[in-house]
Symmetry: D2
């Protein structure tokens, strides 16, 4: 698992576009600024899984060739957002100035996002689709990946019209607006022949009607909810207890976070989506329900940083009671941004290779892996490695 700094070039020198839903948010802005910085030789690839030879072998589109655009409801320009990330300690001093021209160029491609509009969703979807097509054509792109890094939505009730593609189309034809925003973006993306990455716990492409649409139009997608911090740790620690036949008695978690994500999650309705995806891995790995609270709290003081404390109470031979505590202090945007870039390149490669539907092998990146019920990180890594090796072979056979 040593690193390489020379990514294997894309098999056809493909021009790939990455379209962020939430391009001016912390994760979107960090990903764009970071990719530009790496391209300019101002930053390294630390935190990018695609730099590892086991992944690079898949023949991913080059980072340097990615073109960025996006939707956002915010009026704060991308350069200003990146400046704010400097103050937050996420982006190094000097970077905004060095990348000013390029950031402004990307910012000019950002289009207004979906707000609580009065227009029917059929109409909005058409506008979003048009934005994506224009981005592809204006920039001469072979493929576009739409990546959702916007704020977490509350869980959605799956009404009948969200169950089948036919039902959904009829509802849209009837002037109804049944989709949550994240799924509306996914609908527009798939209709514009773009693959999709759902990096938040929002429904996005996971609704049955959307998943059916992806199959119908023959596009790959991946999701959901990026596994960047405390849950990442859970999915390496829980297998350890299981492999050693130790009995986990309770697992308590407290997550303190500031920044935009924290503010969104301070609304209990939105937090439900997050705690649901955070909680499910443990049970899947250990094979039984585990007691213990899971809190997510908004502490504005922490800015873009997050501190999580977990305490695991477990039992060993002859009933001995023991414990493990950990404290994780991380910068969520800095952890998420490189994974978002990895995913964009991996899904673009899947698109090129003709893969369709949820890419289970990309579960490595997610708290709630679509198409898979594997949560243990090392098993997910094996699946990812195998998938990359297959793509490498496929390429060689051409």
């Amino acid at each position: 698992m040593t690193e390489t700094n020379t990514p294997v070039p894309g098999p056809e020198g493909a021009r790939v576009g990455v379209w962020f839903v939430g391009a001016r948010g912390s994760v979107g802005a960090t990903a764009i600024a970071g990719a530009l910085a790496v391209r300019a030789g101002l930053a390294g690839e630390t935190g990018m899984v695609s730099r590892l030879p086991e992944v690079a072998v898949a023949g991913l589109p080059e980072l340097a060739g990615l073109q960025f655009g996006g939707h956002d409801v915010s009026d704060v320009s991308l350069p200003k957002r990146v400046e704010a990330l400097v103050d937050a300690g996420v982006v190094p001093h000097g970077l905004p100035a060095a990348l000013a021209t390029e950031l402004a160029r990307v910012d000019a491609r950002i289009r207004p996002g979906v707000t609580g509009s009065e227009r029917p969703q059929r109409e909005i979807a058409a506008a979003l689709t048009a934005d994506l097509r224009a981005f592809r054509e204006d920039n001469g792109l072979d493929r576009v990946v739409v990546v959702d890094v916007s704020s977490t939505e509350p869980p959605v009730r799956v009404t009948p019209e969200l169950l089948t593609l036919d039902g959904l189309e009829q509802a849209l034809d009837a002037g109804e607006s049944p989709l949550p925003a994240s799924s509306l973006y996914a609908y527009a993306a798939l209709r514009a022949d773009c693959s999709v990455v759902a990096f938040t716990p929002s429904p996005g492409p996971r609704l049955p009607a959307l998943a059916e649409l992806a199959e119908t139009v023959g596009l790959p997608w991946a999701g959901s909810d990026g596994k960047t911090g405390e849950t990442l740790l859970k999915t390496v620690l829980a297998p350890m207890f299981a492999m050693r036949a130790l009995k986990v008695r309770s697992w308590s978690s407290m997550n303190l976070l500031g920044g935009g994500d924290g503010r969104t999650l301070a609304d209990p309705a939105n937090a439900v989506s997050k705690t649901a995806t955070k909680g499910q891995g443990l049970e899947a790995i250990l094979g039984h329900r585990v007691d213990g609270p899971l809190h997510i709290d908004y502490v504005p003081d922490l800015g873009d940083w997050k501190t999580a404390w977990d305490m695991v109470s477990f039992e060993g031979f002859l009933g001995a009671r023991m414990s493990l505590q950990f404290t994780w202090t991380g910068c969520d945007s800095a952890l998420a941004a490189p994974l978002v870039l990895d995913l964009a390149r991996l899904v673009a490669r899947a698109h090129q290779a003709g893969r369709v539907g949820p890419q289970a092998a990309l579960g490595f990146f997610f708290k709630d892996p679509a198409g898979s019920d594997v949560h243990a990180l090392s098993e997910q890594w094996e699946a990812l490695r195998t998938w990359c090796a297959e793509l490498a072979e496929a390429e060689e056979r051409r």
Copy 2:
């Protein structure tokens, strides 16, 4: 990885003996009392890897059929030692009384261990070998495994007579005493046709002359230094950083332990063996040297319990500096004892199946895996699982 409480019976109802070097120490006494308690239905198999179906499939000798004996330099009887472990919170109240007869029976089989004797090692080895043969014959055993759970020795300088079996035999013939105690036990074991488990960092069967002897006599062995606590965590956490392409900048460790192990390690000469085996895994997993102190301290107040604190400083995308801390509070004897029983059964099974030399697939249990340079726990688990599956198939083909 769900558990089973009905171990697959040994393929031939083999009678297996387990001979502990250090039978009256914390780990030895906990393992013996624990095995007797499980057999009597007074305790469960929590902490025993052999209860997991992936391991049980190998067709291990039954726990209930194991016979125990051992060497020890201590005069404190096994029942008394188990009483002390009750006060230390390791063994449940009531167990010593319930197991009194059986503990006394095992205690009667414990023979005096090797002390700084004036006798030449040739002579001592003969006596130890005779002890082992008597144990096997008196109890009608098919096979005996010798398990070293005695105090850690300081590292040994590998002099020429320890390099080859011939050289060693000549030195012994000449009346010399070149072997450290742990290797003298291993020599006697192999000469008595017993397989060997080295659960401490002491040299034991790892000296080249001893490893050659194992090959010559066609016996399997496994080692060394049981991976029970802080190092176990390192070997699941370090791969996580590697898989996510995060850069570990420093990893600092403090281990506070009381009890016999702590006292032995308070002697810096002995601690060298321990810190050496504890340190090597990180570098092997991460592919580069990692800065940071590693302390092992004796804090008598802690008794048989151990608290370890680790701090990992790491770097992510755009140079973001983050950290992970953990505190592990564990009972070393309760963690080690079930693994020691697992190993005895696994090595007995390897012996039965005709395996010879260091069993690399048992590296899962060790800080310093003999015959392997794999340290990541999930990779070790895969190797163990494969090895057990092979033994299962071999059995079925018979």
Copy 3:
């Protein structure tokens, strides 16, 4: 602050009774068993503030002379409860047997507590008062202290009849039942000429009508909500930040507790009382509101033990951002029981010395000190020390 094991004897060899509301709960049972154990020479006085010379000087009634009784709604006998505390690791093995006779004698004095009765409170109060008088007379006691260690109640709305003693008496005369249970016990206690200690956050003697009653009948009382763990730490750490002119930016707390207290607090209505008293100290000490969540969670697995994690984010010179985290692992009953015994003796001494109303100098023991807004532990210690010195002088002058 060195310890003494020879408490200064009470100035008149007074016979003092301690009546626990909740005598069969964890704290009550630990306090009774502990006092009996100390008297029998089976345990030391660790954790008792009254063993410190600065406090002992006040001339407290001797621990050995205390007589115990109480009310409880539970049918589980005191000896059985103490047995359960052995399994929970709170009370040492062997103690229940050694104290069997004495525990049974105390248990025989425990009277049924107040439940959701249909009887009017006037009638219940009379019965409780009769219980207390009988306890005093049957045992030839000079004074009785009633100590509330029962489950936490939800906060009460202070209706007009709880504002004045006249109003309260009229309501009781009219057959109304306006008092929360804790205050009904306090009412009965004061009417029976007993002093009162409120060790829980329940209203007890703090309602204005009750406080007026204490003044009227000339009795001292102390409260409320024993400061045993995480809040204790806050009241030494917060002054440190203040004295060093460091700016506390946020203070986040997570409290995990099992046992009876945890179960009661799992009901959000009851938890409100607790989080309210836990939160107030910080603001009082730092002089400004402090951001950050405060959680209390019930984790049954933890039994009578509690683990609290706090993270303080603070700012130093030139805006440097720093942090302090702590983890407290304590046994609540073992921490509370000696303080409860201290308080009983201190309040009995105050009663003897003719003190009336809330004893502000006993704020040292409480999260929500009645009669005081001082929360910093060292200031509270000074106040306690001064108070004890005054009582010592008063005694000498006699």
Copy 4:
């Protein structure tokens, strides 16, 4: 303990100079840059004890009026050092540019420090004294305080000529060089009529001959070893255990630090001074020796930041075993710099008020308080508050 931003002006508008031994080190440079920043309105007074009304009342010389100079063996200019502190996250971006002129002006006043010279110490002392006199005269200063913030020296063996002033003078007259560097600076300072602050654990003014000199020339001094982090916590937590009559069984500490201080302390000879001063407070507060290791480790990766982990194992009522752990993550320079400025102003005030010898009331700032054996922070705060109030009264009476 609320803050004030309007320091009470010095009673006579005194012009005070602060001369740093080690002016270009982390602490010296942070103190100088910080004082200039506060004066320019670019930073606040967070972390300065002198901003608290209880201290400000003493009538301290104004921060804005302090003039800075110093000795240093380093050739790296002060502006360059401050730039490096920006990269280290200690000093805010933009400050070096805003303060460029003033930093250069101070840098021009920094004179070469004492190195392993071949010149006899009599001669070196004369040169140092001349530097100090020139600083005072050139800048029209009323008083100068010499503050040692240079690297920690190893402990010194107190030879006979260091025991009395006469002995010392004779040795110097004889061309001998008996003084450690820190004491040579202190000697020169006192001979130049400057008061002294010893902020490191080096011997400085604490040698008997030096302390005698201070008495002889009638000058005040304060020391030693600034209490900024882990020890600060110990001196509020240990009194808590004492006040609650809890028995501390062991206290284990690990200190990880990078930067210059860490590098110096990586040399075991120097670390001895530090561990000696860090260890003594606990015993003084608890009244008995406390078991447990104390490590100081150099982890270059941490830069100017420090992480300390402590684990306290303690015992409560009925032998219950409990624990407290804490992790302190602090920036040593940011914690030390404001205290250094406080001390300079307090000692200058003591000088003005005619105080002589070690100022015990300033023990609040030190791990090893000269003239006092009080270590509990709250007691030290009371002493400081009383001392400041006395100075305030003295002033009013004038």
